[in-house]
């Protein structure tokens, strides 16, 4: 027995009145509490996202190198972005990479998610783990491993293909094959994440819908077309957007595997930003290029958002 046991029981406070005494003071205090909780995250966002973004926007109108000397040069950097043949090439490469990577990764992820969602698949848990493995491998490790696998002298892929009489040569140094090769490796590395998102979406679809459709005589394609796809609309939209953004920002894996070569054929916009900013020390120009990429990404995301949103309305 302690003294506290003799106190009257505390009155229950309904949620929503965090520490408030009266209705007016309570609301103000509540808002302050919310602000207090938000402040650390907001401070980090301001410091590490908004502030650098604003600084970069300012830099993009200067010829800054990062060492203090800078002059306002208006839109010169933006004009150069759209007139330098190497930059235009990097933009073309990025579009090509995105056009190859996004559909491949998304379709593969969807197909495998459906396979993994099937209750008839034996050892589902094991397959899920195995398929997810590439995603948790460090990107640099994966890139180096593939570089060795594809090596024309000591690589296993070449060795295996040669036993079937196929010679692919040095694919990473082939101006035509280098880009598809880095795309395939990127798909291998990343599809698992999209697959897990699809899997979550698939598990939200009630099985009763499929059972009803089956009873009505709908075949597998019809069920996929009329139940799975429409009900996965949100998920597909989300996956498409994040896959597109990831593709537009492709850098590290390509940097390790080809360094942008051969003949700049795998040089992407982000690699060009790195080259301009950290190798040529043209921070102003690199900032302008970053903003062009940001705007392009934003527009693409909005377009996708609009289309998936509209489809959702249509199917609703």
């Amino acid at each position: 027995m302690t003294a506290s046991d003799t106190r009257p029981a505390r009155r229950y406070r309904p949620p929503g009145q965090l520490g408030g005494r009266g209705p007016i003071g309570g609301q103000a205090k509540r808002r302050l509490t919310i602000a207090g909780f938000l402040l650390p995250a907001l401070a980090i966002l301001v410091l590490f996202v908004f502030w650098p973004m604003l600084s970069a926007l300012r830099l993009s109108f200067t010829d800054a190198s990062g060492f203090g000397q800078e002059e306002f040069i208006g839109l010169d950097n933006y004009v150069e972005v759209f007139s330098d043949p190497n930059i235009l090439r990097a933009m073309g490469n990025t579009v090509l990479y995105t056009v190859m990577f996004t559909p491949l990764a998304v379709i593969l992820a969807l197909v495998l998610a459906m396979a993994l969602n099937s209750p008839r698949l034996p050892l589902r848990g094991m397959f899920r783990t195995w398929l997810f493995l590439p995603f948790i491998v460090s990107l640099a490790v994966a890139a180096f491993a593939w570089q060795y696998l594809l090596d024309p002298q000591v690589g296993l892929v070449n060795y295996w293909l040669q036993t079937f009489g196929i010679r692919i040569g040095n694919v990473l140094q082939d101006p035509v094959l280098a880009m598809p090769t880095v795309v395939v490796v990127a798909v291998w590395k990343n599809f698992a994440f999209y697959m897990i998102v699809f899997l979550a979406g698939l598990q939200d679809i009630p099985s009763s819908l499929y059972e009803a459709a089956k009873m009505d005589g709908a075949g597998p394609w019809s069920r996929f077309r009329n139940i799975t796809l429409p009900l996965l609309n949100n998920t597909t939209g989300f996956v498409l957007i994040i896959a597109t953004i990831a593709a537009l920002q492709a850098f590290d894996q390509i940097y390790v595997m080809t360094g942008g070569g051969p003949y700049r054929s795998t040089q992407t916009v982000v690699m060009q930003i790195y080259q301009s900013g950290f190798k040529d020390l043209e921070l102003g120009f690199a900032s302008a290029l970053s903003y062009v990429l940001l705007v392009a990404t934003l527009i693409l995301s909005l377009v996708q958002f609009f289309f998936t949103g509209r489809r959702e309305k249509d199917t609703a």
């Binding site: 103000a28 808002r31 302050l32 602000a35 402040l39 907001l42 401070a43 301001v46 410091l47 502030w51 190198s65 990062g66 060492f67 203090g68 000397q69 024309p152 002298q153 040569g169 040095n170 140094q173 082939d174 360094g259 070569g261 051969p262 003949y263 700049r264 080259q275 900013g277 950290f278 190798k279 040529d280 020390l281 921070l283």
Partner: protein
């Protein structure tokens, strides 16, 4: 009111963070001993030797203390800009010589013209080609810490097996020897052993093709401002070597500098063009190796050099700069320069150190003998990495069989545009 409060709090937090980011550390201590930070990328045995030199310097006087920070060359290049722009960078920094001009052109380094002019700087006897690497628009921004010509490293056992007794001295002899050393045992058209490896892009220190261009009297950039890659001499060079690789199959194709090192260390090729580190790589792989000068081309015997420079950053104040210059003078004293050469495995930077003084290290002795053929790579060219990328396009496509004349024409335009932009 609430909004105002929240905004004020937010600004206060942001302000605190920013203040924390911009704390300055100039190390300026008027009149007292000066402590200098020194970033360098000598991570192997050479790093220990450099540390020994710094320790000796620190102990030899009480005015200046050098505090080295060892990073890889790549990390230095990736972090120097951000460090200096935050005023948190080093006072002295060493970096691959071809990277110095771009930093210097952006105002990252202090002008060392007066230092070079002073009698006690010990720079008068420095290899002039090495000093060339430090010069941008007639101003010197650094001092060399290394300057070594590319050389041919060859596998003596494979030479003996093929019956090649003398190392070739001309291009024709070189190709003939490489043919002898190329072995296609099963006759499938893909040799199991190649006579040499001629990388076609990202070559060691980007110097293989410049060396070959010089050998035939060609060049890439003149006076740091004019592109001269599109010349009949360079066209001949490219035709000569692409023919040797395509028809005589003396080298694997599509290889870069790192791949070339690996092929040599795995015993798959008999000759490679490389830097001093090939000695230790060969020794680690139990390869009995020899070092020889790159054979002479029709016009001259020349080898592009690998250079390392160090400079005083603009962040250093006058006291720090004077202190750094004291260290540089010490670094170039004959005994220190000799010790550094022997320990780093690179030839002496001073031309007055006789070969006999470095005999104890056979690699240094061999490289010192051929150091007369060294040529600085793209001295004074600010956007050297862009120029080298264009050169790589030419060599890679030429060896893949593309039309050499149009490749050189395109490269000439691209390189001149790059030079005009800098």
């Amino acid at each position: 009111m609430k909004k105002l409060l929240a905004a004020t709090a937010l600004l206060a937090v942001a302000g605190l963070g920013l203040a924390a980011c911009s704390s300055s550390d100039s190390g300026d201590t008027a009149g007292g001993p000066v402590t200098l930070t020194f970033w360098h990328g000598y991570t192997e045995a050479d790093g220990d030797v450099l540390q020994g030199i710094v320790d000796d310097f620190n102990a030899s006087q009480s005015e200046v203390t050098i505090e080295p920070e060892v990073k890889t060359w790549a990390v230095i290049d990736d972090t120097l800009l951000t460090a200096l722009s935050a005023d948190e960078g080093p006072d002295i920094v060493a970096m691959p010589a071809e990277r110095l001009p771009v930093y210097a052109s952006k105002g990252a380094f202090r002008d060392l013209t007066d230092f070079y002019a002073s009698d006690d700087s010990n720079t008068a006897e420095l290899n002039p080609q090495a000093v060339d690497m430090e010069t941008v628009d007639g101003t010197v921004y650094g001092v060399p810490t290394g300057f070594v010509p590319l050389a041919v490293y060859y596998n003596k056992a494979l030479f003996a097996a093929a019956g090649v007794t003398e190392f070739p001295t001309t291009w024709d002899e070189w190709v003939a020897a490489a043919e002898k050393l190329t072995v296609d045992e099963n006759g499938d058209g893909t040799p199991e052993q190649y006579g040499m490896v001629l990388p076609d892009h990202a070559t060691v220190a980007n110097g293989v093709w410049p060396s070959l261009f010089y050998g035939n009297g060609g060049d890439i950039v003149e006076d740091g401002t004019t592109a001269v890659i599109d010349s009949p001499e360079n066209a001949e060079t490219l035709e000569y070597w692409s023919d040797a690789v395509a028809t005589k199959k003396i080298s694997p194709t599509g290889v870069d500098g790192v791949g070339a090192d690996e092929l040599f260390s795995s015993g798959k090729v008999a000759m490679t063009i490389g830097g001093p580190w090939m000695s230790s790589i060969a020794a680690e792989n139990s390869i009995d190796y020899g070092i020889a000068a790159i054979p002479a081309g029709p016009a001259e015997q020349a080898a592009s050099a690998i250079g390392v420079s160090m400079g005083i950053t603009a962040q250093a104040g006058d006291a720090e700069a004077a202190a750094a210059e004291t260290f540089f003078s010490y670094f170039f004293e004959p005994e220190v320069a000799t010790a550094w050469s022997l320990g780093s495995g690179w030839p002496p930077l001073r031309t007055d150190i006789p070969a006999a003084d470095v005999e104890s290290n056979p690699t240094v002795a061999a490289l010192t003998e051929i150091s007369g053929t060294s040529r600085a790579l793209l001295p004074g060219v600010v956007n050297s990495s862009d120029v080298l990328t264009e050169m790589d396009v030419v060599t890679q496509k030429a060896l893949a069989g593309d039309d050499i004349a149009s490749l050189l024409k395109d490269a000439q335009t691209a390189i001149q545009t790059t030079l005009d932009d800098q």
